[in-house]
């Protein structure tokens, strides 16, 4: 998915024939070809001219407006995209089918989290990690037998607490201490990285969901409201650990990000600054463009696995009996 990320502040995007010209003051930072673009993400305060917006609408290129830490305020979509062809099918899904898929998603999330911990355990064995690996297996079994969404969410919460506790053991970078997950606002650099990463991934999934014509407001695990694109939240679960947590581990433990230089503290929270955001996005893109070998298939970039899952969900909507096959790492 070819995206344009505007992570610097005070940029000005204008149309120049078939290209978008990105300026900051008088300097031209870059030029991007419109016909080959798939989405635009704007972090913080930058201006987009109406001409650019109109061209993007015509070409069905969504523009997402996000806060500097990645929270999505809203998106600009063409009016035709509002027609969600699969919405009717999604509304007709039976509660039992939804529960089954919700269980599948939670189980996949727990399994993937467990694999990430197991990888760390092989590198640096620790008692806390061993314990968490055990409790994650137990909770995965429990999740398989759960009969209500609320209880499922409860199990997921318990698993997350145990998992993040163990993940804290895995950070070795200078100046990075991670005791527990804190969000809204993130309390320290590791939490800032995790929050930002989840938000970026969530937004990409939302774009892919829209592209497939699914209604993002109807989901299985998360309760959809008109204000919450719950399907993106559902599908992001199985990717959190393998795509974001492992990336954050890499960034911190290899010293790619710097605890003193890449963060800023304000409003009682810790956030990535311009330099940190850029570093994160670079590493994120590099990782998403890396190809991996999926069982039996030929190599494909991580981007495709995201799209693959959205398509699998679509198949489930068409044919609920089949169920949903989640993304599992080994």
């Amino acid at each position: 998915m070819r995206s344009l990320y505007i992570s610097q502040q005070g940029c000005y995007l204008s149309l120049q024939q078939e290209q978008i010209l990105i300026k900051q003051g008088q300097t031209v930072l870059d030029q991007v070809q419109l016909p080959l673009l798939e989405q635009i993400l704007i972090f913080g305060k930058s201006q987009v001219t109406t001409q650019v917006i109109r061209e993007c609408l015509r070409r069905e290129i969504p523009i997402a407006y996000l806060s500097r830490m990645g929270y999505c305020y809203g998106r600009i979509l063409p009016i035709s995209r509002g027609y969600r062809s699969l919405s009717r099918y999604q509304q007709q899904l039976l509660n039992t089918d939804r529960l089954i898929v919700a269980r599948t998603i939670v189980q996949a999330k727990l399994r993937n989290s467990r694999v990430i911990l197991q990888r760390q355990q092989r590198r640096r064995p620790s008692e806390v990690i061993a314990q968490s690996i055990q409790s994650l297996s137990y909770l995965t079994e429990q999740a398989a037998q759960t009969e209500s969404i609320d209880r499922l969410m409860g199990l997921e919460g318990a698993a997350a607490a145990s998992y993040f506790n163990a993940l804290g053991e895995c950070f070795t970078g200078d100046g990075f201490v991670f005791v527990a997950r804190s969000r809204r606002p993130p309390g320290n650099p590791v939490n800032a990285l995790l929050s930002f990463g989840y938000q970026v991934l969530w937004n990409h999934l939302l774009s892919l969901i829209e592209l497939q014509g699914l209604d993002p407001y109807h989901a299985c695990l998360h309760q959809g409201t008109e204000r919450h694109a719950a399907l993106a939240s559902d599908l992001v679960e199985e990717f959190r650990a393998p795509m974001i947590d492992s990336l954050v581990l890499y960034l911190v433990n290899r010293g790619v990000v710097n605890a003193d230089q890449d963060f800023t503290y304000h409003d009682g929270g810790c956030y990535l600054n311009d330099a940190g955001r850029k570093k994160f996005l670079r590493a994120f893109l590099q990782r998403m463009e890396e190809t991996l070998n999926v069982e039996g298939d030929q190599a494909q970039p991580r981007w495709d696995t995201l799209n693959q899952q959205v398509k699998l969900y679509k198949q489930f909507v068409y044919n609920p009996v089949q169920g949903y096959t989640p993304y599992l790492i080994r």
């Binding site: 344009l4 990320y5 992570s7 024939q17 078939e18 870059d30 070809q33």
Partner: protein, 92 residues
Amino acid sequence: MLLYIVTYDIPCDKRRKKVSDLLEGYGRRVQYSVFECVLTTGKYDELQRRLKQRIKLQEDSVRFYPLSGHTLAQVEVWGGEPVTQMPGSVIV
């Protein structure tokens, strides 16, 4: 995804500007009237459809050369930029 070489010969300044503006969106100018474009078949069709509306076939000539993976490996470049790669995402 294939690499296409698109070349043109257009006597009218106005039409030539229009064609080169369009091609700037799909590929990279490597010589005055030669573009290299890495495109999916969908985008290639779109480019051709849009180009057709901007040229006059009686006077202009546009040529498209798709390169297969086999011949792409044998491309040589003397001077100037290396062969165009698939465009990636952009971070600003």
